[in-house]
Amino acid sequence: MADLYFAGVDVGSLSTDVSIIDHSGKLLSETVIPTGVNGSEAAEVAFDSAIKLADLSREVITAITATGYGRASVAFATGKTTEISCHGVGAHQLFPKTGTVIDIGGQDSKVIQIDSHGRMLDFTMNDKCAAGTGRFLEVMANRLELDLDELSSPLNIEGESAPISSTCTVFAESEVISLLAKHTPREHIVHGLQRSIVNRIWSMVASIGIEGEVTLTGGVAHNRGLVVLLEEKLGLTLNIPENPQTVGALGGAHIARRAYQSSLELGPN
């Protein structure tokens, strides 16, 4: 298996991520770029850039798994797998004792249960709205005129978090407007928003339960305030990958590697 390389290309609603690994599973490079309006173009650009970073050429990549909502648009992929399976496998690679993955993505959130090999056992996904997703935070950041980093700080001033009772993006935004009108400190509103997402995620976790260690993936895992609140709510310490956004792509690369290995075991038909 020397000189074999595998890639995962995750075309998400907000970002397109690529991971490249070698035959042993060692990570060689990763890229994250905004998806923009054209998923297939974003996939090409991100893939080229990851190849360059790994100092490889396109031709040497043995197998490529496309994943994410735009998985069907990756013409150069050799296979496609849902982001749900990919996040399970990716989280398992990074934290082998993971039994539950919480993925808070740009457009949707998922809770995935996996076995000791990273194979999916069960999952749940949020409904057809942006509640409890990265999109929710983006909308609120705009409304509060904060950047996403500022929106991620844990509560560090005196006082309670502002009560945001709605998990719906539209209603929560109106609540934020009212709170701003009442001169509620922005930090308290931020904390209230983080709590609102945590409550939404909690209801999903409650529907399928927690097994083993819990790994948090997706861009929202960068939000420190939310992580603190989620850990508090779940009563445990979360595994946070160094690059939570690329876990799906990493899982995709490993799935491509597994598929290649099993095709060798099965032999040609």
């Binding site: 797998t81 069960d122 999952f123 996904m125």
Partner: protein
């Protein structure tokens, strides 16, 4: 196998002078209607877009009730013998009252209050009683019932059941050459085809001598209606076969086991009603339904079960939570989709279905 389009078929029938009763789902004495030469056409599917009905119904009413009312308001030229509202759920019962008293359609509106509960002396007596009452209300309009026609209608129904049972069995064991989309199109054709036309369609179904190619994964579905054709085609594309179902518009209308050919129509219809599979709309026992589901999962070797739940469907939602909990407890993979009978699958539902099939594929991979 050519299956005519529901609306065009019914329009042609109406134009030919056929008496047609618009029937709401799901269980009603179709044989009695046939005996009066009335065609029972179920009106829960077309039309797609709901415009007029929303003016009369709350937003939290299921889309089947809305579609049915839309049909009643928008297609007055097809149905000519009246409307029949079985007591499937409170929403349909209320719709019957609304159509009769508030909306004021010109055709007669009939109701049929199915017994809730399982087989016992009281429920069977009650069922016979409402059958006879319904017969009387038909006789008041169409004259005395001809006993030989009633028996012939039951014989036809018995033949249809026998074919459906054989087809169901063939599907479980991969002896059917129909894919998911074709299979459910065939099942749903009974909602609007004349029984004789439907029987000849069933007679054309090819049951293989040897099992065909095994699907990549096997799935059971439960709920009211089968998944939308787009989902069925997507499952076909993925190589997943729906090998068994527990759908109100599917197997819940087929007796659990073969019956003797009818001799007395009333006895036959009463016996048939009580050997239908357990159903949330008949207030069935949940343990019995669980047993039924597990039995079919095992018999068909289904690896997982998909619940396709119609939004705001009270009877199904009552059962659903406990069913899922128990099945998950038995390690059956379960996926629930909530549908408003949209014609297209959302990207999220597509991902859900695909991820679920990946889970099933993992279960069968070496």
């Amino acid at each position: 196998m050519m299956i005519p389009n529901r609306k065009e078929y019914l329009k042609a029938l109406a134009n030919s002078g056929q008496k047609i009763m618009g029937v709401l789902p799901a269980l009603y004495p179709r044989e009695l209607l046939w005996a009066f030469d009335i065609h029972a056409a179920e009106i829960w599917d077309p039309p797609g877009e709901i415009l007029h009905a929303n003016a009369h119904l709350q937003t939290t009413i299921c889309p089947i009730v809305k579609r049915s009312l839309e049909f009643i308001l928008k297609e007055p030229d097809i149905i000519n013998a009246g409307y029949l509202f079985p007591h499937t759920c409170d929403s349909l019962q209320n719709l019957g009252t609304q159509v009769k008293d508030l909306i004021g359609v010109s055709l007669p509106v009939y109701t049929f209050y199915n017994p809730k509960g399982s087989f016992n002396n009281t429920t069977t007596r009650y069922y016979r009683d409402i059958l006879q009452n319904f017969q009387l209300s038909m006789e008041a309009v169409y004259g005395p019932l001809a006993p030989d026609k009633f028996l012939a209608a039951c014989v036809l129904s018995h033949k249809i059941d026998s074919h459906l049972m054989a087809i169901q069995q063939a599907r479980m064991t991969d002896h059917l050459s129909l894919n998911n989309a074709e299979y459910f199109k065939l099942m749903r054709a009974q909602e609007y085809l004349l029984p004789t036309d439907y029987l000849s369609l069933l007679e054309q179904v090819d049951i293989l001598d040897q099992p065909g190619e095994s699907p990549r994964a096997r799935m059971m579905v439960s709920g009211i209606l089968p998944p939308t054709p787009e989902i069925l085609e997507f499952l076909d594309e993925l190589g997943v076969s729906i090998v068994a179902d527990d759908l109100l518009a599917g197997s819940r209308r087929i007796p659990k086991f073969p019956m003797d050919a009818p001799v007395s129509p009333l006895d036959y219809l009463t016996d048939r009603f009580f050997i239908l599979p357990p159903c949330s709309t008949r207030g069935g026992d949940l343990d019995e339904r669980l047993h039924h589901l597990s039995k079919h999962m095992n018999a068909s070797q289904a690896q997982g079960i998909l619940f396709d739940i119609v939004k705001f469907c009270e009877p199904e939602l009552f059962d659903h939570r406990l069913l899922v909990k128990t099945l998950r407890g038995k390690n059956y993979p379960v996926l629930t989709l909530e549908t408003e009978l949209e014609n297209h699958i959302s990207g999220q539902d597509k991902t859900r279905i695909e991820a679920f099939t990946e889970l099933l594929f993992e279960m069968v991979s070496p």
